[in-house]
Amino acid sequence: MSRFDHKPRLESTRHDIVIVGGGGAGLSAAIAIAEQHPQLSIALVSKVVPMRSHTVAAEGGAAGVVSASDGLDLHFRDTVVGGEWLCDQAAVDYFVARCHEEMVRLEHWGCPWSRGEDGYPAVRNFGGMSTARTWFAADKTGFHILHTLFQTSLRFPRIQRFDEYFVHDLLVDDGCCRGVVAIDIASGDFHALQAGAVIMATGGAGRVYRQNTNAGILTGDGLGLALRHGVALRDMEFVQFHPTTLPGSGVLITEGCRGEGAYLTNRHGHRYLQDYGLGPEVREPVPKTMELGPRDRLSQAFWHEQQAGRTVDTPNGPAVQLELMHLGRRKIAERLPFISELAKTFVGVDPACAPIPVCPSVHYTMGGIATDITTATALPGLYACGECASVGIHGANRLGSNSLAELLVFGREAGLQAAGFAADQARQGTAAALAAQARESAARAAQWLARPAGGLRLAELREQMTTAMQDGVGIYRDAERMASTCESLENLSQLLDSISLDDRSRCFNTEWLSAIELGFTLDVARCIAHAALNRRESRGSHQRLDGYNQRDDDQFLRHSLATLAPGQPPQIHYRAVNITRLPPGERRYGGGSATEHKP
């Protein structure tokens, strides 16, 4: 028992670069640094062992232009139009030019991409993409990418892993980010990691909502950390609802199903997407048509079907039907084996025999820590990449398969940029100030364990938050409900201090970590709700019912930036969008049908 007799320790180590998050983006950054700057020491800090990170759950694929008939310009246009012009076009150009190279790099590292008969990696159709350009490894693409990256990272002894270390604060000195403070989860001791540069790669914040596809770890820690140190979150009102997930649990049923030719039908067996400007009804998959429309449109169509009473009732709420039966057992086994396993396990459906009940759930945080095209944030020394970042490529609606590509392209970029920054930094002189900061931060975190009993339960607060978000900032929004959500969230954040924990121990105290996470999640939720309330237009995934149901380029072809000062509601500012070559126009899907369905 002696291990825990002492007061919490505060250890301190120095590294050239600290990476927070061991998913696809963090590992890409780490490997890029280790390869290009082998003299630099890298600390990879993650609250879970890297291969548990949520990249593992991505299914459908990663975009990268391959065929001669395709082109970078087409990928650029699909992405910008898909994001309803709220994309940073320079960032999109940079991105699409590097996707293919990253897919090949992964191939060279052993990623088991699915293959065509010619031996080259195969590509499949994806929503909103003009042609097949989504690389895939059956329907476990994220799993294979993550394990390939993790296993490849083991080649580099310069990558020092801090598995199951929970970062609860940044160290900032002299206007520069100089490291992080973390809790060693197993011991409950604190650990300050000082560094020349810090990379945030902590993933999204889907846990802000009640029904989501996200893992329990996606509590928006990185966004909350940046926010508390004055870094703005950009475009947070744009939350992606994935149209095909299991009712209740939100377990993801990949868009790859539709890429392979699955149908979506309502309770009458009607392929309803043709009624929402996505037709004509086609039997074989046609790019940007019917089931291959973008996610925002498909989730919105579901909402209308539900309003009209044409959905199917399940024990976990309304659903539509995802039909794969016509694809045949063999194709399902080859291309969609995981979907088959998930459907059988979680809803007792064999997709070769019966449709899978699906509905939209929160899936992806399109906004994030505002960065420039080089992944640098406004805080010198702090970089961000992957889902926690907003480098500006997704705009108001992300296209499926752009995010796995993003974490490779911008993970690598973040690694190289941070390495350059760290190499320039004198690492002396600030240690004492940082140590004092770390002690203070650790003491604050430890206060959770000293709170008196009898306060509020953590889970109650969390449930109130997710319910408020689900009710007020869903697929369709109006001022009244958003304002009410904003108010609830402000109240909840006042109550955070009234929580008391059942667990006052230090060893693997996950309740303690959840409490700190909830602080981050609540801040992120407040930014989402306030940014949504302030955007008085409809664009991409942000759709309003209260008179602002049209796009308004004059007022709102602008990024929102949310900042947070202690004790105040989030402040929302706006900044111009970088439009280099594709001026705003009409966003059109389906085979030339111009009819738009609006509520």
Partner: protein, 252 residues
Amino acid sequence: MSDGSGQIDILISRYDPERDDQPHTERFTVPYQHDSSVLDALLYIKDRIDGSLSFRWSCRMAICGSCGKMINGVPRLSCKTFLRDYAPGPLHIEALHHFPVIKDLVVEQAGFLDKLPEARPWLIREQEQALADGPHRQSPRQRARFASTSACINCLLCYAACPQYGMKPDFAGPALLALVERYNADSRDQGRAERMPLINAEDGVWSCTLVGNCSAVCPKGVDPAAAINRNKLESAKDYFLRFLKIGSGGAE
């Protein structure tokens, strides 16, 4: 068996190293629906009854490999195991066997993680191909040869099921040896010789006595037992044929 909803008694093996000398069992009663998993029950307990219960979990969809537990003595993923199959209980949940317990249902995974680099689990080429030369060619049939071994999610259920690993923690174990086979069977890889020392070692394939529990409990159909047995033949060949060639792996 019951297919509806109701209440189920759950016995959980608890251990807090700051207070307890020995693990003890606590009883909880939780409600369940037709689709409630064991993980749902653990989350219910943590959220509503006792926040001090510690366990790992993350994706909820049987792909991250975090939530393995002993469920009525059998290693299983708690997100993929359903309460309806155990109602009305009692259902006994313990930490994965064969690993030291850190707290409650959380085990120390170093016994696996620290061994990973020994498998050389990355693509090894005599000459690395330049990015500009594009991807390697690989036919769908060649890919199929390592499709099952590459499906391992490192959930460690196979280690909890393996009596050999239980007695001999230095044994490389099923998942690690399956990982070796995953790369050796990949047509793009040329690193077999580098991996032979692990295969040939006393703690490699030769510690396996073909009990087969690993393959029986695998939630992803990896079949480590088959992978190990294939490599026994490889190792036996290597043992005798090494005298005929240079550069075979392993110290004497």
